[in-house]
């Protein structure tokens, strides 16, 4: 009895209308919120959430006030599936409707999977430069590299999540412990004035001549957080000194311990590939007599030692490179026009919207046609 009512509830058109209306309000609200919050934060708050919470000022209470994107989306999916199995029968009249809703189900599932599985990173190449890794967009890692052997670097990379908790780390490959004393998700680093009375951020390396300051994290699309951290290395409880590391530094800091040389750097998390890409040429074309960009393109040499591939590809606007399950897009460039920034997306479900679009389009067209023929027939008879 209860199950019947539950099924009926999830099948009902009324639920569909309510969910669509909630979705509409959510999308509208989430769009307006972008003005203040920026795209990414609004996205997390409104669309990649189960509830939208409201905290009364001065309290830690989180009161759910509106369903978030995950909740509306999943309920809509259940509603669709339930209605699909309960109501739709395969008949000539209903085949259009069936296709439309099957397409919508595919679209929703595809987007859910994208949300869970997609991974974004970027690749910055100067002309002539070759790289076999891309860098994650918003995650950093702390790399401690043993460079003693001239032809072999041993890298210990400490991930973002551990840095954020300001933890202490003991790694087998390192003869010392790493303490993250402070972590700044966004920061500025400035030269230390000669007469500055401020305490030194670090006792060793660059930190002895610089000042670091925490900044509020930014969310606008055209701004980037640049993190910094203060580290201390200890061996058996004895301090080896403290270091300032920062996303601003483009050189690694070196130190020696027990006859071995190490380098330390805070850098964007690297994702290594079995192949490498070299930038042969970057072009930024403008319309004659103006600054209006006509095209951006990167001529890339793709080398994959395992498969023996070695070929040139041209990546330009609206024409990405799809390779090894990843897609490389022309995203940005260096101001001197001699370097390119490619956005790299790994999204196993990227084809779902294409199929969904085809299904829904066929369905809508069939449905529309059958309405139209019915209408014309009726008028003929009348």
């Amino acid at each position: 009895m209860h199950l019947d009512r539950l099924i009926k509830f999830f099948c009902s058109l009324r639920l569909t209308v309510v969910l669509l209306a909630l979705g509409l309000i959510l999308v509208f609200w989430g769009t307006l919120a972008q003005v203040k919050l920026g795209l990414y934060q609004a996205q997390d708050l409104f669309f990649r959430s189960v509830f939208i919470y409201w905290s009364p000022e001065g309290s830690n209470l989180k009161i759910p006030i509106f369903p978030g994107g995950y909740l509306v989306g999943t309920t809509l999916l259940i509603n669709l599936l339930a209605a699909h199995f309960q109501r739709f029968e395969m008949s000539r009249k209903k085949v259009g409707l069936f296709l439309i809703h099957a397409g919508l189900i595919l679209l929703l599932i595809g987007q859910l999977l994208t949300d869970l599985l997609a991974q974004e990173s970027s690749l910055h190449l100067r002309e002539g430069e070759t790289r076999n890794y891309t860098e994650a967009d918003s995650k950093v890692e702390l790399a401690v590299i043993d460079v003693t052997e001239p032809d072999l670097d041993t890298v210990v990379a400490i991930p973002h999540t551990l840095l954020r908790t300001e933890a202490t780390l003991d790694h087998d490959k390192l003869p010392f412990a790493v303490h993250v004393r402070r972590f700044f998700p966004n920061s500025t680093v400035t030269d230390r004035p000669k007469d500055s009375m401020a305490p030194l951020p670090a006792s060793q390396g660059f930190g002895t001549q610089l000042l670091v300051e925490e900044r509020p994290t930014v969310t606008a699309m055209d701004q980037r957080n640049v993190p910094s951290a203060i580290l201390e290395f200890t061996d058996d409880g004895k301090s080896l000194g403290s270091w300032l590391v920062s996303g601003y530094f483009n050189r690694n800091q070196q130190f020696t311990h027990e006859g071995r040389t190490y380098e330390v750097a805070l850098r964007r998390t690297r994702l290594y590939k079995p192949f490498s890409l070299q930038l042969l040429d970057f072009r930024h074309d403008v319309y004659p007599g103006t600054e209006i960009p006509k095209n951006f393109s990167s001529r890339i040499r793709l080398m994959h030692p395992e498969t023996g591939e070695d070929r040139e590809v041209l990546i330009y606007m609206n024409n990405p490179l799809r390779y090894a399950g990843e897609t490389y897009y022309q995203a940005s460039f260096d101001t001197d026009n001699e370097g390119t920034i490619l956005q790299v997306v790994r999204n196993p479900s990227w084809l779902a919207p294409y199929f969904a679009c085809i299904l829904v389009s066929i369905g809508l067209t069939l449905q529309f046609m059958s309405h139209m023929f019915g209408f014309v027939k009726k008028r003929r008879i009348a």
Partner: protein, 647 residues
């Protein structure tokens, strides 16, 4: 006789259109011929006429300068006016004359007071136009404030600051135009240039000698440097690139401005491009007020262009024709007339009026289509490339939908919808065109005819259909509530129309949105990124989905459907304009701020209509107990039933 009236009405409007197509005679200077000469500006080839027209739109807000002011209600009087090309020639070649033309629009009273302009200027409909001469004393102030304002984010500017920025930009543009053809104080460009060419060798020798600290010919040096300084100023300020490449085949994009050409010839010697001699001949004849010489010089120059670069000459001619056709403006005027005729037809059930409205709407639509196709050919692009063209196209599609409805139902509703939406969208387009060039080149990511032809077209068709449904619903509510003309059968057919159009809107807005996602996947690497424009499109799809499901689920009936359809107008306007006003996101290429209050006004009217739609039926003038049919019968007329299509 009655049968012929609609055809006569059609003939009247058609004659008007034909009259525009006939060539205009010019007894003295052949300005039109000059206006067809192609130049390069904003990265695209365009005739001088477009340069003048777009500059004038940016400075004055009109495409010509009226020479005498008429009251705005005296629309039957055609005041003498300076057309765009004529004005441009004055600015470039007779600046002292151009400085007396009232072209600088200032409407903020504080700014008028601050610049001590009260009581000066020409007034029309509450707007004040000032001449350059009236502003000369204030240029320092305007420049100082303009530079300051340009540092302020356009979105946070006050109305006063916006006015300052607009005036500052207008003055800068004016100054650049003045230095695009010849140095501002030139009396005889041909003679000056010959003088400069003759002085160049001695001048170069003098400069070299001076550099080596030797004795040098001071007179030769001063003359040479004097000219060079003027030309260098032009090279930095000139607006259009008017000198075509010397070798158009090998170097088709090598256009230069006049200053660059003269400076480079002055520094390195060498021949001047052949176009320069033509230009100087034209300039000297114009300044000397010799129409015959001017006309001859323009004709020889055009012959040369025709021979050297026939395709560019053709482009100049074609765009000149397009500019002067003003297809969308004329279509708008006819739509307005058709709208009035169509509305009247409901009150006396006159089929003559209805048919007249129907025929002239078709005529207007043909003119509209011609303009649209001409524009596509000029640009080499699908119809929608920016906000302006989206308004043109939405109107076009909405009129087509309305005409189809009229053809099927023949009850005046389709034609009123078609003409009203047509007129309003063309009015919007007309105002969007005030920003300047509407055929600007497309930024890299938009430079793809495939996606412009698929995604952009389908999504705009979705907008158009949603507007048509919303307008039909407005007809339902206004006619039902305020008049007795809404019979049960008309109500039923309106219901079917709205439902059908919403199905159509859902189809196109959904496919358009998904295609947009796929384009985004191709260019930015994700199918969906919750970008404002994407969200706007999604909101339209959701809204149409809500209407359809609510109807299928029996949650709404006639009036519910109508009210939801009207709200669809608000939703669509948000997606079309509102999103651009947020000024964020990857799609914010069509930013505009002046329209905000109009959009709020529109939304208020729509909410008002919905409120009217919620008034209980017993207060409606139609559908009362005796019913409009009976009421109408008692007055001796009978509402025409919808007739089947006679195909």
């Amino acid at each position: 006789m009655k049968k012929w009236i609609p055809w006569l009405v059609l003939a009247f409007f058609a004659t008007d259109i034909v009259a525009i197509l006939l060539p205009r005679k010019e007894p003295s200077f052949h300005y039109q011929e000059f206006g067809r000469i192609p130049v390069l500006l904003n990265g695209r080839l365009q005739p001088f006429d477009s340069v003048g027209r777009n500059a004038l739109l940016q400075i004055r807000g009109t495409a010509s300068v009226p020479l005498e002011e008429k009251k705005s209600y005296e629309f039957w009087k055609h005041p003498e006016k300076l057309r765009a090309t004529h004005w441009l020639l004055e600015v470039m070649l007779k600046p002292e004359q151009a400085d007396t033309r009232p072209i600088f629009l200032i409407h903020h009273p504080d700014l008028i007071n601050e610049l001590n302009l009260a009581g000066k200027g020409k007034e029309k409909s509450g707007l004040f136009y000032f001449t350059f001469n009236e502003l000369t004393n204030s240029i320092g102030v305007i420049e100082k404030e303009g530079v300051q304002v340009n540092r302020v984010d356009p979105q946070t500017r006050t109305p006063y600051q916006k006015q300052v920025a607009k005036l500052y930009n207008a003055l800068t543009l004016y100054k650049r135009l003045k230095n695009s053809y010849q140095p501002e104080a030139t009396q005889d460009f041909a003679r000056d240039l010959a003088d400069f060419r003759a002085a160049t060798p001695a001048g170069i020798t003098a400069v070299k000698a001076r550099e080596q600290k030797q004795d040098y010919d001071r007179a030769a040096f001063n003359k040479y440097i004097g000219y060079l300084g003027q030309y260098d100023f032009m090279a930095r300020f000139a607006y259009p690139l008017i000198v075509p490449p010397t070798d158009p085949v090998k170097n088709p994009e090598g256009w230069q401005n006049m200053g660059q050409v003269l400076v480079s010839a002055g520094l390195h010697g060498g021949d001047l491009p052949p176009a320069v001699a033509h230009y100087t001949a034209i300039a000297s004849a114009y300044r000397a007020d010799k129409p015959d010489e001017f006309n001859a010089a323009v004709a020889t120059f055009k012959e040369w262009i025709e021979k050297e670069m026939p395709r560019k000459a053709a482009k100049g001619r074609a765009e000149f024709f397009y500019n002067n056709l003003q297809a969308f403006l004329h279509a708008m005027i006819i739509y307005l007339c058709a709208f009035l005729l169509g509305c009247f037809s409901w009150f006396n059930w006159s089929d003559v009026l209805r048919r007249s409205a129907f025929y002239i709407t078709i005529l207007a639509w043909v003119v509209h289509t011609a303009g649209l196709v001409f524009r596509m050919a000029l640009e080499g692009r699908p119809p929608v490339t920016n906000l302006y063209s989206s308004a043109v196209f939405i109107g076009w599609a909405a009129v087509l939908l309305g005409l189809i409805l009229e053809y099927i139902y023949r009850d005046g509703i389709g034609v009123v919808t078609a003409s009203a939406v047509g007129a309003v969208t063309q009015l919007i387009a007309h105002n969007l065109a005030l920003g300047g060039d509407t055929m600007e080149m497309l930024r890299a990511v938009l430079d793809t005819n495939f996606w412009l032809a698929t995604h952009v077209i389908t999504i705009t068709l979705g907008y158009a259909a949603t507007f048509v449904a919303g307008f039909l619903a407005m007809v339902f509510i206004l006619r039902g509530l305020l008049t007795t003309t809404l019979s049960k059968t008309t109500a039923q057919s309106l219901n079917r129309m709205v439902y059908g159009i919403i199905c159509f809107a859902t189809l196109f807005s959904f496919i358009g949105t998904v295609l947009g996602g796929i384009w985004a996947d191709q260019s930015w690497g994700r199918f969906w990124g919750w970008d404002p424009k994407e969200n706007g499109a999604l909101i339209i799809v959701l809204w149409n989905g809500i209407i359809l499901h609510a109807r299928w689920g029996g949650l709404i009936r006639d009036r519910g459907l109508m009210n939801l359809a009207i709200f669809g107008n608000i939703v669509t306007v948000f997606s079309w304009f509102g999103v651009n006003m947020l000024g964020i996101g990857l799609h914010s290429y069509g930013f505009m701020d002046a329209a905000f209050k109009w959009i709020m006004f529109f939304n208020a009217t729509q909410l008002g209509l919905i409120a009217l739609g919620l008034i209980p039926l017993r207060y409606w003038r139609s559908f009362r107990e005796d019913g409009p049919q009976e009421a109408a019968k008692s007055r001796g007329a009978s509402p025409r039933k919808p007739q089947p299509a006679t195909t």
